[in-house]
Point group: C2
Chain length 347, copies 2
């Protein structure tokens, strides 16, 4: 019962229009507002609620408080064959990231590989959205960003490492795209936020309290810090991703070093520069079939690939609506009211 109260389904097209309207009302150019709304709703459709419309009011706050530039002049600092360095001028992260990945894909089509470093950017939401663009264009897509400093390094007890995620995507002949999007912590920080909002506990092993002890309280865990995936491995990966995104770009890196905001790294590798795309997809199908047809664990519903369950969820939700929780719905209502828009999106 609590669960039914908690979640209600909304119409994804209406949701996208509402979110577009909210940002357009704050002065975001209509095309940019539509793009941001599309990316946020896509995350909810794919079940990645941690990076979906629960961020709407975070970004509106950034605009209202002047931290986000809704009319950025994106500057090309370096542009040399397959590589490019962009300065995002503090714009909305999603808009900058789409632009950067478009540049990477264009370079990959011309040179075989495209690398784009982006600084003075902000939060770009779910990385899968951008790696997917590359896969849709027949490329291997890769993206990483530096993120909030909420992780504890092995041997430490202070939050000094970013929760830096990465995403890799590859085309398949299946309806879904191979798309891995993962944080380098045991879980993404947003999962602690959501648990806190819903009054739920978290499993031990996700986070520690401020004294460094294991905790099942998401609020204490947010105060203390998140644990890296597999200890030194997740820690090492996370620092490397900050080196790629933050250190290399000339933007913000580490805990407030260098600059403000976030920085990202985008890469596309054009498959046709190595083999015909159809041959690549045939090979992907062989790999998928081999793994899927292997013996299942007792009670297992099957073996799935990164991006597959997200795709399946998206199809179901396009048909039947996206469940949004009470917190997100109330934030959207508040934003709709502020923008003078009707909140009439529930199915």
């Amino acid at each position: 019962m609590a669960n039914e109260e908690q979640f209600r389904r909304v119409d994804p097209a209406k949701l996208e229009r509402l979110v577009t309207g909210i940002y357009a009302g704050l002065g975001v150019p209509p095309d940019d507002a539509a793009l941001l709304a599309k990316a946020l709703v896509d995350a909810d459709l794919r079940g990645v609620h941690s990076h979906g419309c629960r961020y709407v009011s975070t970004y509106t706050r950034g605009i209202r408080e002047g931290r986000t530039n809704v009319h950025p002049e994106i500057r090309t600092i370096r542009d040399d064959g397959p590589i490019c360095l962009l300065d995002g001028d503090g714009g909305l992260g999603h808009i900058l990231a789409v632009r950067a990945m478009q540049v990477a894909i264009g370079k990959a089509k011309e040179h075989g590989v495209g690398v784009v470093s982006l600084r003075n950017s902000q939060h770009i939401g779910a990385l899968a959205y951008y790696s997917q663009m590359a896969a849709d264009a027949g490329c291997l897509g890769y993206v990483t960003t530096n993120a909030g400093i909420v992780m504890i390094p092995p041997g430490g007890r202070e939050k000094v490492v970013g929760l830096n995620p990465l995403s890799w995507a590859a085309p398949t002949p299946r309806p879904w795209t191979f798309n891995l999007d993962m944080a380098t912590s045991v879980v993404a920080g947003s999962k602690l936020n959501m648990a806190a909002e819903r009054g739920e506990k978290i499993p031990l092993g996700w986070a520690v309290d401020p004294d460094g002890n294991p905790t099942d309280d998401p609020r204490l865990g947010m105060q203390g810090g998140l644990l890296p995936l597999g200890g030194p491995k997740g820690y090492g990966l996370s620092v490397m991703l900050d080196i790629m995104a933050g250190v290399l770009s000339g933007g913000r890196f580490g805990k407030g070093l260098g600059s403000k905001g976030s920085a990202q790294f985008f890469q596309a590798i054009d498959i046709e520069h190595f083999m015909p795309l159809s041959e690549f997809k045939d090979r992907m199908e062989q790999l998928i079939e081999q793994i899927k047809s292997s013996a299942l664990a007792p009670g297992s519903p099957g073996i799935f690939f990164p991006g597959e369950l997200e795709y399946n969820l998206k199809q179901e939700r396009l048909a039947h609506g996206v469940p949004l929780d009470a917190f997100v719905r109330s934030e959207l209502k508040r934003e709709a009211e502020a923008a003078g828009l009707s909140y009439d999106i529930e199915v």
Copy 2:
């Protein structure tokens, strides 16, 4: 006492000469034999015994049994600006990998980024050796390979996923290089082999037995299969690395699909194409200092970076010798005898 019997220190220079002689005696060109010996001894010096001289007899067996081509004709299948596709003609993996990374670095210096896909290769040992080459040349280095099929996918109970590792390296102003080299399983398979050779148990959570149950017996774990790091994350990473190394190269991928041997992917990004290397190193120093100076956990000896402890170990071992265990020493004695060489390497 058992431990002293188990390990004895050997002189690294003598060890390198012995290993060079063993391979030269099997028809490997002297320069290639020296390079292979250098890479294997480097792994032992850095404490990565799982990929050091314990592999000497694995590779000699490959040569004697005709699976390894000691005079490969490396073919350039595609060479287009920053990208390159090489066919290794079944040569020794280390030799091919060094060549491939040299090509990637050359392309990075010219174009900003270099990507080299290598097929018909074999086991290349510790990846850190190649990513280090790129970092030494002022680049971000990246390398991945597909590997033995010993991992269980989430939801499955059959070994159908490779234990595919990755390495990323970046220059620092410190004596050590940032160098992350990690398998996508909870631990590398060689750690189970070593535990079995030494008659030791393994922690629960590393592997499952053939029925899919947790086990602390390394032999049962090798039969059953290794578990991926963080479940879906390690599994997704591992499959992606096979897509980059195996599927994209046109070589072997999955469990015996496509071709034989192994396939790899090498990438170098030239830092000077983004900013002066000295500026990059300054930024790295700030990042290192920030993390190292953060609060320590009770009893912690400090916070370390990937590659740092390996560098420290190497300095100590260059001075005092490399400890090799009884299994590796007996294999080396056997190989020395077969090659008509003196085994006189212990300090």
